[in-house]
């Protein structure tokens, strides 16, 4: 192999990306969530998703030749393998069966002449041999006969990589390319330290064998340890592409978060913020899959907008979900001096805490019901508002519901045909506004807002943030806002706590430079200092 080089140029999510990769090189790819890493890799892997959304601009060159991938099978043929973040393994199959899933070696059987190829028997011996071969190349100890479900996560990851490696053998007969480039998308995120070390070792072995690797990770130390060069992406651009000798954790962190275009910080009227503590959380643990909270303590002052930031999967979203009783939680939460019993949503709700969930469609809305229902339901159940009493029975007060809904439609400029429209028919931004209206209708003393701007357009974003700020300033409501976008938090919050690995890495004033937040977000505090 002479040398692989690739060039991309695209627009919007990815802007004029150019880089080269040599055989055996390990390239570390870092960037915040949504920086464009995944999209880039999807293009490289020829995923259907990219083609369905209009393809991409620019060219991919392998060995100096321009390549068009029409499907991921084409990419595999060119020797590109990809290990996704989520496992695609069959739990009750053995390691060997999983490595060769749907590529099982077959033994001829007479019945296949009659009923088609699928009645050939599976050649277990050959399967075993090839699985072992792949495992050997990976340089780890992995029993090919173990059932996947009994293995720890790390070994599942190895199985996935071994599968990519084993694909090489399939093509031996055909174009004899073999695997040349392996993309590993956050492989260490779920691994224990011990397992991660084994994986890094395996990566080096592969690289020595001439396989290039693109390694995506949020653990910067790992990247520095194992990679030959490091590429930092932000907002669809390559910010830096450097040799590893030129990088250290601190620098990478600042490249990652430092915005070229600063979002203007809005002017804040802080007169209503008192020193009184509204919410006190200590030792909170939440069992939310993908967003585990391990030990979180923080205090929120009455009337302030408190931000919770951090990378995805670090646990910031688990905090409100745990407090609101949607996921199993342990620890103590005090609101206005009173302890709130966890694991029952009606406790925080009746104390005057409201929550705008990050999962709009799943948790936030009744998609098949009218806007009126969506806005009024929470308040009706918790505060018993919008009810008419006839005798001992409490009926819905449809008139009051309609009025309040229309009020919020005006106030938040929700685009809809009427207050009777189904929530499903609104756009994402307007759905988000309905979620806010629902929370406002509860007249909360404290409001959790989780990822309020995720997946909505710029105009709606500004409106949502403005509405939150206004609500806070006019009603003195304490707001805890959770967002993955640091700049958004910095634009409206008073103080921001950064969550890393299920813990608070630090709490800073919102006016501090973004580099400091970046370091906290990566949890490299100790190493960095």
């Amino acid at each position: 192999m002479k040398g692989i080089s690739k060039e991309f140029s695209g627009n919007k999510v990815l802007n004029d990306i150019n880089f080269k990769l040599y055989p055996g090189e390990i390239l570390g790819l870092v960037g915040e969530n949504g920086a464009g890493k995944s999209t880039l890799m999807k293009i490289l892997f020829g995923m259907d998703e990219i083609r369905d959304t209009g393809g991409y601009g620019g060219d991919i060159l392998i060995d100096g030749k321009k390549i068009e991938f029409h499907s991921s099978e084409d990419a595999i043929k060119e020797g590109i393998g990809m290990v996704h973040q989520e496992f695609s393994l069959i739990p009750d199959f053995t390691v060997a069966e999983n490595i060769l899933l749907n590529r099982e070696p077959e033994k001829y059987s007479v019945m296949s002449e009659l009923f088609g190829k699928r009645l050939n028997t599976v050649d277990r011996k050959e399967m075993q041999r090839r699985a072992l071969l792949a495992i050997e190349r990976l340089g780890v100890e992995l029993d090919a006969n173990k059932t996947i479900s009994t293995l720890p996560v790390g070994y599942k990851q190895f199985t996935e990589i071994a599968r990519e490696l084993s694909k090489e053998d399939d093509q031996k007969s055909a174009d004899a390319k073999g695997i040349r480039l392996l993309v590993l998308d956050e492989p260490t995120a779920v691994l224990s330290e011990h397992e991660a070390i084994a994986l890094l070792k395996a990566m080096r072995m592969l690289s020595e064998a001439g396989i290039a690797i693109i390694f995506i990770s949020h653990r910067l130390q790992e990247i520095i340890d194992v990679c030959d060069s490091i590429m930092v992406m932000r907002d669809g651009l390559i910010i830096k592409h450097v040799d590893k000798r030129e990088a250290d954790v601190q620098k990478i962190a600042s490249w990652m978060v430092g915005r070229s275009v600063k979002q203007e910080r809005v002017s804040r009227d802080t007169s209503h913020i008192s020193d009184e503590i509204a919410l006190k959380v200590s030792g909170l643990r939440v069992d939310m899959p993908g967003e585990m909270v391990k030990d979180v303590s923080f205090e929120v002052r009455k009337g302030e907008i408190f931000g919770l930031g951090g990378l995805a999967g670090q646990g910031k979203i688990g905090i409100p979900n745990g407090i609101m009783g949607l996921y199993y939680a342990l620890g103590s939460v005090e609101f206005e001096g009173k302890a709130i019993k966890l694991n029952n949503p009606s406790n925080p709700l009746s104390s005057g805490i409201a929550f705008v969930s990050e999962d709009r469609r799943g948790v936030g809305l009744l998609l098949d019901e009218s806007l009126e229902w969506n806005v009024s339901f929470g308040a009706m159940q918790v505060n018993e508002s919008f009810l008419k009493k006839i005798g001992p029975i409490k009926f819905r007060d449809n008139e009051a519901i309609r009025k309040v809904t229309e009020e919020y439609i005006d106030l938040l400029q929700i685009k809809c045909t009427s207050s009777k429209q189904k929530a499903r028919q609104l756009s994402g931004g307007n759905q988000q506004k309905i979620c806010l209206a629902k929370a406002f209708a509860l007249n909360p003393k404290l409001l959790f807002v989780s990822e309020p701007t995720r997946g909505i357009d710029v105009g709606a974003k500004a409106l949502v943030l403005e509405a939150l700020k206004k609500y806070n300033e006019e009603n003195g409501t304490t707001i805890v806002m959770i967002s993955s976008e640091l700049e958004e938090l910095r634009s409206i919050c008073d103080r921001i706590a950064v969550v890393h690995d299920g813990k608070i890495a630090g709490t800073l004033d919102a006016t501090r430079p973004s580099e400091e937040f970046g370091v906290l977000m990566l949890g490299e505090m100790k190493e960095a200092k």
Partner: protein
């Protein structure tokens, strides 16, 4: 040209929202009425039959509504409610009530059974969320089989009900004559020539429907609907999903109990043993025929569905017999009712809820 295209589109959409099978069945029923005179079938008596059977079955179909509302799916476990009703019915006869009071007492006796059985059934369904329908079916079946044993063993001794020769064990069919036969049907009954309207039964159904309609407009009823629409949303709003579901199951079970008693007052007999065994499917398909889906059902669905379903049931045999001397009504009933359920189960939008 444009107009024609949009018209076509619009009508297609109208058909889609109405549901193709429902349209076919409605047209079929209309067709039956149109050709009825040619088959020497009296339309007025056909309509009377239809209304009578509507009154008989409507409450049983109504029993589907609460459970669908709370997201428990179609109530294939209706036999459980029916059993409560049968217990009430047999007890009122055992204690010798007569007339309208026997009807009321049957409901009163059935109520505690419906509540207890419904609560247990609801608790069970809460533990198997997502797999309710299959389990509901089999809960219904097992309870029917269990009651078969109980009907033999329970210490009833009213001579009108037990086997004459043994003195114990209830008969398979027990007449409600002298108890509550026709107490609703004959109340304010309207008779014009061949046309007879069982006003009382229809009024009673209307009363129950009104109660359910009102209930769905209370705070609790609203919460129940929200639980069915999006249980996570409901949880996040501080509603106890399990409690709402249990409540809906109790309601459905109770309506099933009342439904069978209404059925008997019109039909004339209490059918024990295997009687309740296959009563769930017609009720399920009737409500689906009326436009309900696995997770949405309204009272209008109940009324339309029951009318259509019973209309087909009453009109097909007479018209077909008059026309081609071939009674395929039973086969049509099986195909229509189960086809309707299949249609509902396989609709895409509901699978990707």
């Amino acid at each position: 040209m444009m107009d024609a295209a949009t018209l076509k589109e619009k009508s297609m959409q109208a058909i889609k929202s109405f549901g193709l099978p429902r349209l076919i069945i409605t047209l079929f029923l209309v067709l039956l009425f149109v050709i009825a005179p040619f088959a020497n079938v009296n339309i007025a008596s056909g309509i009377s039959d239809m209304l009578t059977r509507f009154g008989m079955n409507a409450v049983l179909v109504l029993a589907m509504v609460p459970m669908v509302h709370s997201g428990c799916g179609l109530n294939f476990g209706l036999p459980l409610g029916i059993i409560s009703g049968l217990l009430g019915a047999t007890m009122t006869i055992e204690f010798g009530f007569t007339g309208f009071s026997s009807f009321l007492m049957a409901i009163v006796f059935a109520t505690p059974f419906a509540i207890v059985l419904g609560a247990g059934y609801g608790a069970l369904l809460n533990r198997v969320k997502g797999g309710e329908m299959m389990i509901a079916t089999y809960v219904g079946f097992s309870s029917v089989a269990f009651m078969c044993i109980m009907w033999l063993l329970l210490p009833y001794d009213n001579p009108t009900m037990v086997w004459g020769y043994a003195g114990t064990g209830l008969r398979t069919t027990i007449s409600v004559e002298g108890a509550y036969l026709g107490v609703l049907d004959n109340f304010l009954r309207i008779q014009i020539g061949h046309l007879a309207i069982p006003t009382g039964t229809i009024l009673f159904f209307a009363l129950l429907s009104l109660l359910i309609w009102l209930f769905l407009r209370t705070k609790t009823g609203t919460a129940m609907t929200a639980v069915g629409s999006n249980p996570i949303f409901a949880t996040a709003s501080g509603v106890s999903v399990d409690r709402m579901r249990t409540l809906s199951v109790v309601l459905s079970t109770w309506l099933g109990a009342v439904g069978i008693i209404v059925y008997e007052q019109s039909f004339g007999f209490i059918q024990l043993y295997m009687g309740p065994f296959n009563m769930a499917l017609p009720a399920v398909s009737a409500v689906l025929l009326g436009g309900a889906s696995v997770n949405k059902a309204s009272i209008a669905n109940v009324v339309i569905g029951t009318l259509l379903f019973q209309g087909i049931l009453t009109m097909t045999p007479s018209v077909m017999n008059g026309l081609i001397q071939m009674d395929v009504s039973e086969v049509i009933r099986i195909i229509v009712s189960n086809g309707m359920i299949l249609y509902a189960l396989t609709r895409k939008q509901e699978v990707t809820r």
